[in-house]
Each structure stands twice: as structure tokens, then as C-alpha cells.
């Protein structure tokens, strides 16, 4: 066991993947000598060479598009997109080809790859460096969308993603890249894709969240619990598509109240889908309408106001109060 930050755990998983599978190739902008703008690939090119950790031209469609050919040709590409706000030149490749190659060729060709994308805000970054547009990808059949909320899961989920026969969008919450350390096993291990985790059990309200918001929700709920004398169950969804309905429904059936918290703007965020499904499946157990707390329905602002754009602790608490006081 080593104490690691989330970004170190990502680096450790990439090193493990490169070491254990000759087909693995990392490609992206500034990932080689520079080790990535967040240092997620630090030291990997020196260790595995320029053929396997490749600085590419500055071209996201080229990175994703060549990854389709690389994967179909028997490699296991792990492309890095520098920030989520810059993924859009590669978006067509993702939705029209990465997600569909298996279906379009009746499995003759597949595009298993792990597209790593730092996402989310609250790191005082410039404009368009703080996006949370996971809905675009979760909306697209054929894709798997994963996001860890801690170093242990980062390594285990990333190694799962590398083993997956399907393409995975691997969202790395920048806000918590370095905010805390956790014991991470040195040896390879797997955190299964498609399984949510109850990070804190409770009997009165279920709060479902993911990524950097998990820590915010834990902090915010601790205060509500103390003042109201209730117990909140917090679920880290971990896989956003396809998400773990079983764990979510079981929890909501137990507590009768559900709040979904995400950094993405509220309108058509993943919370809308979760709320709809919970309403369909848990209606007889629900004590209150499902509530969503999300980013404000405006573009992510310049950083002076970004903390107010994302769900604040106060908004998270109000969401919990709302389902309790219904």
C-alpha cells in the first residue's frame, strides 16, 4: 500500500496497464516529455518509450479518430483529451464511430479504448477548462462512462476500463486530483464497472452523486445529520453509463427519499434520467418527489463565480431539507 493522490493513482494504473499489456498505447497532447498538463502521465514516456506514450499533433479528432483505427487494428489505445471543454472536435468520432463501430460491423471490428478526460470545475482554471458534460456521453448507446471519486477507485476503475471490450469515457475530477491521499495497493486490482458504492449508509434520505461532488455531499450531509438528527445514505454512482439501478433503487426503496447532486448543469443532466427512473421504479416507497441539485442552467462562468455555479453545500442541504420536509 502506498499513499497516493487521485492523479498519482491514475499514473500508477497507466503504468500497470503499459507494463502488463503490450497493446496499450497512450496518445495525447503534451503527455510525453511533459507528462501531461496534470502530470497524469509523468515518467511514462521515459519508461516505456515514444512508441507507446505518444505526443500527438494538437488535434482531438485526429487523436480519437486514429484511436479507432488503432483499436480496430489490435491495439488498446488510451487517448487523453487535455480538458473536457476541448473534446468537441473529437465528439463526432466518439458518437459516430467509437460508440458504434461494434454495431456497424456486427462485431467484426470493435473500438475498445479508454478516453481519459479531466473534467469538472473549481480549480480556478481559465474559460472552458471546467466543463461537466457527461450527459453527452451517457446519452450515447455503446459508450461506458466512468468517474472515480477517490484514488483507490481511480486505479481500480481505470484498470477495469482498460480490460473492457467496450469503449470507456473515463472522467477524472480535476478538483480532487490532488486534494487528498488514500492507501492504494501497489499490485493491480479491479473496481468493477457498473457498480455504485454506498459510501455512507443511512436510513432517511438517499443522496446519489459522483466525481468531485462526493466529498462535498459528505461534508454537507454531515451538517444536516447533526442539526436534524437524521441519517443520510450517500451513493457514489462511479459508473454513469450504464449505471447501477439495482443499488440505487434498493437504497431509495429503503429511505423513501432521493436527492441527486451533480456539477453538470441541471437541465437534462444525468440527474433527470435518475429521477425519472427512480420515480418509475420506487413510486410506492417514495415519501417525497425526487429532487435534483445541479449546476446552474448557465454556462460555466469565469472562475470568480464558479463555486456558485456548482452545487454549494447550502444548496445540497436545501435539497435534502426539501425531501425531508415535503
Amino acid at each position: 500500500m502506498t499513499e497516493m493522490t487521485l492523479v498519482q493513482a491514475v499514473n500508477d494504473a497507466l503504468r500497470t496497464a503499459l507494463q502488463s499489456d503490450d497493446r496499450v498505447i497512450l496518445l495525447g497532447e503534451d503527455i510525453g516529455k511533459n507528462g501531461g498538463v496534470f502530470r497524469a502521465t509523468e515518467g511514462l514516456q521515459a519508461r516505456f518509450g515514444e512508441q507507446r506514450v505518444v505526443d500527438t499533433p494538437l488535434a482531438e479528432a485526429g487523436i480519437i479518430g486514429t484511436s479507432v483505427g488503432l483499436a480496430a487494428g489490435g491495439m488498446k489505445p488510451i487517448p487523453e483529451i487535455q480538458f473536457m471543454g476541448f473534446i468537441y472536435p473529437g465528439f463526432e468520432q466518439i458518437v459516430s464511430h467509437v460508440a458504434r463501430l461494434r454495431m456497424r460491423s456486427r462485431s467484426r471490428f470493435t473500438a475498445p479504448m479508454v478516453i481519459r478526460v479531466p473534467y469538472g470545475g473549481r480549480i480556478r482554471a481559465p474559460e472552458l477548462h471546467s466543463e461537466s458534460t457527461e450527459t453527452f456521453f451517457a446519452h450515447t448507446p455503446g459508450l461506458t462512462v466512468v468517474t472515480p471519486s477517490n484514488p483507490y477507485d481511480a486505479k481500480g476503475l481505470l484498470l477495469s476500463a482498460v480490460q473492457s471490450d467496450d469503449p470507456v469515457i473515463f472522467l477524472e475530477p480535476m478538483h480532487i486530483y490532488r486534494s487528498f491521499r488514500q492507501s492504494v495497493p501497489e499490485e493491480p486490482y479491479i473496481v468493477p464497472i457498473g457498480s455504485a458504492q454506498i459510501v455512507k449508509p443511512g436510513r432517511d434520505v438517499t443522496v446519489i452523486t459522483w466525481g468531485a461532488m462526493v466529498r462535498d455531499v459528505l461534508d454537507a450531509t454531515a451538517k444536516v445529520e447533526a442539526t436534524r438528527g437524521i441519517e443520510v445514505e450517500v451513493i457514489d454512482l462511479r459508473t454513469l453509463a450504464p449505471w447501477d439501478e439495482e443499488t440505487v433503487f434498493a437504497s431509495v426503496n429503503k429511505t423513501g427519499r432521493a436527492v441527486i447532486v451533480h456539477e453538470a448543469v441541471l437541465n437534462l443532466g444525468l440527474g433527470a434520467e435518475l429521477a425519472a427512473r427512480i420515480s418509475e421504479e420506487c413510486v410506492l416507497q417514495l415519501e417525497a418527489p425526487v429532487t435534483r441539485v445541479g449546476g446552474l442552467n448557465v454556462p460555466v462562468p469565469l472562475f470568480q463565480l464558479e463555486d456558485l455555479h456548482a452545487p454549494t453545500h447550502a444548496r445540497i442541504q436545501r435539497g435534502i431539507d426539501k425531501v425531508l420536509d415535503f
Binding site: 500527438t56 488535434a59 483505427g69 488503432l70 489505445p77 468520432q93 460491423s105 471490428f109 457498473g194 439501478e245
Partner: protein
């Protein structure tokens, strides 16, 4: 354009048919590989005949497919008549392990490289079976969004290079695709990493209705190669031998590790963009007629006659084989029953996720209810 190319020749072309096309082709040249005048010494007789046979088959297949669409027996279809030399002679320059990376109009190249004809018909008939590419056939699924296949070709070539396999990717695209970002990114990646790719542009003068002059301010598409540090070659796309030579040489270069080549083949689609399009709205009929004067299939047939490799008896035999081949493919398509609706859920993920398992079960129940309702009515 690489003036030092040994193939460089000027524009004045006199075809073997005796028709002086210099006037019409003046604006088309210059070419790095001229249209064929003499019997080629570097292309075997058997290969010339095979190129012709496949081109003649493709022409008839194409005409038949348009009629099938008109009769409602297949869906919307993008005809390629006029582009046969580009698709057949290029692909016959490949080795079996090389990849064809096509667009929706390149089913000719796909078939030449081993895609069964009936699958092409099934695809345009909206059937999932049409998407099946046999395991040993190195053809990538045809791309519908413009230019998006070009980075795939670069990636396939990259994978081959990294794994030490001598496989070249032949990527097809049109003049319109040269305006897309993916064209630029693919050319650039292929050049930077010296990938074994051949980018083959069928410049058929129009992207649906928009003429080349609205795609680019350059004289040619081939000259764009210079911006990437890539060899650019411009050829008469109606001349099968020129097409064959250009791709053959580019494949040799790619295979030797000398990187990608951009080939611009001048050609013309006589027909509409698809069966839903009306080309009389955007170009004069006389234009297609003038292109028919250097028709690729007719030109090659007359050349073969001149070389004493072909005669009327052989032509009659060929036409019979073509007819039977197409009939057999059509019969295979039409012998299929209705598509199994449950195929909707296949091949979306490696393993069906639980939410789709439930959706599939619900869908099945709904289907059987509708079936029961239908039976009762």
C-alpha cells in the same frame, strides 16, 4: 505537386479511341501520371482483363441497383457510375492484407477487395446482415459522415506499423471531404508518424451540388499534400492503368516505410449524389455527356480490343457472367425473411448490460402483444 516525379506529364491527351479530348481535359491537367496511350508494359494482360471485368461488373451492378431502388426493392442508393476505374483499378493494386477504408460510395472497392455483393445490396436495403464483413476480408465499414474514415485509415496503418505487420490502408474520400477537418488531421497524423496510408481522393467535381471551386481555392487537391510534407499525385481517374500505377507505387512506398501518399483522381459521377438527388438542378447535362467521351469502362474495353486481349465473344460471355452474378446476389438478398427485431440489441456492447436485457425483454413482450393484436384483427 511534385514536378520531379518521373510520372509527370502534361495535359494534352489523345485517347486511343481517336477522339481528341485535349480541349475538354485542358482544365483537368496537368497529371503526374498521363492517360494511357500505349499498351502498358508494367501491367500484365491478365490483370488488365481482370480490371476490365470488375469495372464492367460494377457498372452493371450500379445500374441495376438504381433500378432496384426505383422499384422499391432497396432503399436510397448512391450511384457511382463514371468512377469505376477509380474504385477497381486502385483496389486491385492492393495485397489481400491491405485495408480498404471506404465511404458510402465505395462499395465497388469493397466488393473488389472481397465484400460479398449480396451484403452490399442488403446494406442498402437497410438490413443488418449487410454490415457483416467476412473475417478474412480487410475492408473497414463504410463511413457515412464525410472524411471521418480518414483518421481511421491512419490508425489502422499505425496499428500495423506498431505490430510489425506489412499492411497498407487505402482510404477513399471525395473532393468535398478535403474541406473537412478530419482530412487535415488524418493527413497530418499520417505524415508526422510516417504511416503506411494511401489517401485516394475521387475528385468527382461536386459535393452533392457544390462545385470544387467552392471547396478550395487551390488549383488541385493533390497540391495540398505539400502542406503536410506528403507526396501528392494527380491522375486521370478515368484511366484504369493510371489509377493502378498510382496506387501500386504509393503502396510500395508506404510498405517500405516511406509514409503516406495523397492521390487525386479526376473523375465524374454521371448520376445523382443519391437516388434522392436531382443533378439537373446544379449542373448541365452536357457536362456528363462530355465526361462520357472518356468513359472509363468503354475506354478500357476499346483498349483491350486494340491490344487484341478482348473481342465480342468474350464480351458476350462476360455480360452473361455479370448478369448471373448480380442475379445470384439479388436472389440471396430477396431470399431472406424479415429482419429479426431482436437484432436491435445485438452488438451494442460486448455483453448486453442489465438495463438493455430488461429493455429487450420488455420489447419482446410488446412485440408479442402487437402480434396477438394483429392476429385478432
Amino acid at each position: 505537386m511534385h514536378d520531379e516525379s518521373p510520372h509527370f506529364a502534361d495535359a494534352v491527351i489523345t485517347t486511343q479511341t481517336g477522339v481528341d479530348t485535349a480541349k475538354e481535359t485542358q482544365s483537368l491537367g496537368p497529371f503526374d501520371i498521363p492517360a494511357t496511350i500505349e499498351k502498358p508494359e508494367d501491367v500484365q494482360d491478365e490483370l488488365l482483363i481482370e480490371i476490365y471485368r470488375q469495372m464492367a461488373l460494377l457498372r452493371e451492378f450500379d445500374r441495376r441497383s438504381v433500378r432496384l431502388q426505383r422499384a422499391g426493392r432497396i432503399g436510397t442508393y448512391p450511384p457511382l457510375e463514371g468512377q469505376e476505374a477509380c474504385q477497381v483499378a486502385s483496389t486491385l493494386a492492393l495485397r489481400k492484407a491491405d485495408y480498404v477504408v471506404p465511404t458510402y460510395r465505395d462499395y465497388g472497392a469493397m466488393m473488389v477487395h472481397g465484400m460479398p455483393m449480396e451484403h452490399i445490396l442488403m446494406y442498402w436495403n437497410g438490413r443488418p446482415e449487410g454490415a457483416v464483413i467476412p473475417q478474412d476480408v480487410h475492408v473497414f465499414p463504410l463511413a457515412v459522415p464525410i472524411a471521418t474514415q480518414l483518421p481511421h485509415a491512419a490508425g489502422l496503418a499505425w496499428a500495423a506499423k506498431l505490430q510489425g505487420r506489412d499492411e497498407v490502408s487505402l482510404a477513399f474520400f471525395g473532393d468535398g471531404a478535403s474541406s473537412e477537418g478530419d482530412f487535415h488531421e488524418a493527413m497530418n497524423f499520417a505524415a508526422v508518424f510516417k504511416l503506411p496510408v494511401v489517401f485516394f481522393c475521387q475528385n468527382n467535381q461536386y459535393a452533392i451540388s457544390v462545385p470544387l471551386s467552392r471547396q478550395t481555392a487551390t488549383e488541385t487537391i493533390a497540391e495540398k499534400a505539400a502542406a503536410y510534407g506528403v507526396t501528392g499525385v494527380r491522375i486521370p481517374g478515368w484511366d484504369a492503368v493510371a489509377v493502378y500505377r498510382a496506387v501500386r507505387d504509393a503502396v510500395v512506398r508506404a510498405s517500405r516505410g516511406e509514409g503516406p501518399t495523397l492521390i487525386e483522381a479526376l473523375t465524374y459521377r454521371y448520376g445523382p449524389h443519391t437516388t434522392s438527388d436531382d443533378p439537373t438542378k446544379y449542373r448541365p447535362l452536357s457536362e456528363a455527356e462530355s465526361w462520357r467521351e472518356r468513359d472509363p469502362v468503354e475506354t478500357l474495353r476499346q483498349d483491350l480490343n486494340r491490344y487484341r486481349l478482348w473481342d465480342d465473344a468474350k464480351e458476350a460471355e462476360l455480360q452473361e457472367w455479370i448478369h448471373e452474378t448480380i442475379q445470384a446476389a439479388l436472389a440471396k438478398m430477396e431470399s431472406l425473411g424479415p429482419v429479426n427485431p431482436l437484432e436491435l440489441f445485438d452488438h451494442v456492447y460486448a455483453k448486453l448490460p442489465s438495463h438493455l436485457e430488461r429493455a429487450k425483454a420488455e420489447f419482446l413482450t410488446e412485440l408479442s402483444h402487437e402480434q396477438t393484436k394483429g392476429d385478432a384483427q
